[in-house]
Assembly symmetry: C2
Homo-oligomer: 351 residues x 2
DNA sequence: AGGTAGTGTGGGAGCGCTCCCACCAGTGAT
DNA sequence: ATCACTGGTGGGAGCGCTCCCACACTACCT
């Protein structure tokens, strides 16, 4: 507060103007050099670079942001409480990917949690102030108002996992359909034929796609689709337990289960144990996510791995293009930028 | 890039000027209302607030930063690779504390990892550009150049755990000395008397303080200090194992061990098992940190808990004062702002 | 010779705010 | 009545950049 007058004059940070004077060129030229414009002669560029080095010039971000109407920052918005963020390896892998895509960029990453209503209100305010050039959205539920808010504010965004087949936002997702097929085909190749599926929350698009994958793999194998072998879960342990119990009741002769998540598989395992079934001897089990749970389960769980770090990287690349390409609304959204990454089956002793 | 001309004019975000016009007051008055200055009459304030609401005015951060020479952001700098950040609950607790202290503030938090040389270079550049008003430094090693860089750039900083007794930066620490005393006194109260200590890395000030606490607790209990009961560790599992083995060799009659960290205790436990000692029957064991390791050890480990979340909160409060108080250099650093928080012994079955 | 592109460059204008000085009442002391 | 003050207010100046227009100056056509 008190430093306003004293600021900058003596000993403060050098400005563009001072660099220009030192190099014997105009302000515009220095700006061009700093921003890597090609329209500068080599000699001039060298002179400016020398002046920059001598003066230890560092551009003032605030001034740049004001003049250019951009912030050089993007946000990774996590609509979850911090606790979950730290608990699930999903997020740390994602963060790693984002970080690596950003590492040779001037772009800064902001990590924003929006788990509570209060945090969400803060976030809305934050976005309204246009404090970031773009947003990375992970783990978004189908009814989340955030994507609409972003669209309304005209802030570029990329979503990890489309909300539906009609998703309008650019997105990066893993191949849920293909992953499910891999899982089922794996079970069939092990000689199983009575393969059940415990789904995820069906308001999550990815969960639906997994069901599609299950259905088609069964049908392509000539086994037909017995709807009685499909039971709805909700990605939780409890849901998996309940679903498995229901399935066993209906079809005591089940010899394999594909669960829509590792946590679900863990619940299914408990129900199987309670029913006296051995894994994998009596019933083979496959999960999804290849999380720590899969590795530590007894027996270790075969699971479908998603390339999460890679997804983070791709999302970031997409967003950066999106931010750079900002163009008149008319030409936006015409070409949909959506990306699907392959999954990989990690085979362990549960199948 | 191409939007410069079109920006703002039609349909863009409202500016201070527009709010002023709407409310029928001057620019200065609106600024005063926005910034909560008391020098505004109630009537005027109400009028301005109405105009702000009608127009949906949100201040432009970049303009404010440029004019006021501040950023309204602070950084939490973690001089570790991201992997460790996610692996250790220390950081997530710290983050939670910082977040809570910031939650009713306009201040924004930036999370910056500076594990690799490359990241450190980026950070230096970042700080040189004064993109944050202050820095929170956690887990800093004694020879880290970062604090000096910050001092040179005149960026307010708070450190978690002073680097020495002569630490010049404001700091928040837990009471390492007192925590060590608690641990030792607990062991003595359980009837043990041949209490050994495995230290942490002695170039970490906190580790030294723990040794001090051990020494004085022993000496105050009238047991004297046998230097042979002190063995240097380095906070690692391997170090704990080696140190414990050495101690047993020297003093086979040891009946209790205070280890400078839970990880160290875990190594010590292994050495004790290998030597056929039972815990706690033959040798009682106490660790430090009360981490997940302590809870999951077999047997569960008695450990000294540091109030990490609280430390994060206090650090943040300190930094905010520091940032707000920015004043002529002369009066700085005269009063040292250093804070020590009490620890708590969590008793489990290892002792 | 005169035109017509293209390069490279300087500097004005303006981004939206904060700070501060000037000013205008009103109030109470002289 | 005159002179401080004081609470309240308007608006100029300026923060350090980017954008863009204008102006050289060259080189290559007709």
């Amino acid at each position: 507060m008190a430093t306003h007058g004293a600021r900058g004059r003596s000993g403060g940070r050098p400005t563009l103007e001072e660099v220009a004077a030192r190099a014997g060129v105009g302000r515009g030229t220095v700006s061009r050099v700093i921003n890597g414009s090609p329209r500068v002669s080599d000699a001039t560029r060298a002179a400016v670079e020398a002046a920059v080095a001598e003066l230890g010039y560092v551009p003032n971000t605030a001034a740049r942001a004001l003049a250019a109407n951009r912030t050089d920052a993007i946000a990774l918005v996590v609509p979850e409480p911090e606790t979950r963020f730290f608990a699930e390896p999903y997020f740390s892998d994602m963060l790693k990917g984002v970080g690596s895509a950003l590492s040779d960029t001037e772009m800064q990453l902001l990590l924003i949690f929006a788990g509570s209503d209060r945090e969400r209100a803060r976030l809305a305010q934050y976005l309204a102030a246009h404090r970031v050039d773009g947003v990375l959205l992970v783990s978004v539920h189908a009814d989340d108002p955030l994507p609409d808010l972003l669209a309304q504010l005209e802030i570029p965004a990329v979503i990890s996992g489309p909300r539906s087949s009609a998703e309008t936002l650019p997105s990066v997702d893993s191949d849920n359909y293909g992953g499910a097929r891999q899982a089922v085909e794996h079970l069939l190749s092990r000689g199983r034929s009575r393969v059940a599926h415990i789904t995820g929350r069906l308001d999550v698009y990815g969960a639906q796609r997994r069901v599609d994958g299950y259905r088609e793999a069964m049908s392509d194998a000539g086994l037909g689709v017995d709807e009685g072998l499909i039971e709805a879960g909700d990605f939780t342990e409890e849901g998996g337990h309940r679903a498995m119990a229901a399935l066993l009741e209906r079809h005591p002769d089940i010899d394999a289960v594909f669960a829509a998540s590792d946590v679900t598989a863990s619940g299914a395992r408990r129900a199987l144990r309670e029913a006296g079934r051995r894994i994998p001897e009596d019933v083979a089990l496959v999960g999804y996510d290849d999380s720590a749970i899969a590795r530590h389960m007894e027996p270790p769980l075969t699971s479908v791995r998603q390339p999460i770090e890679e997804m983070g990287r791709r999302m970031t690349d997409l967003l950066l293009t999106e931010v750079a390409d900002r163009r008149p609304l008319a030409s936006r959204g015409l070409e949909r930028r959506q990306m699907v990454l392959a999954t990989e089956l990690v085979s362990r002793s549960s199948s």
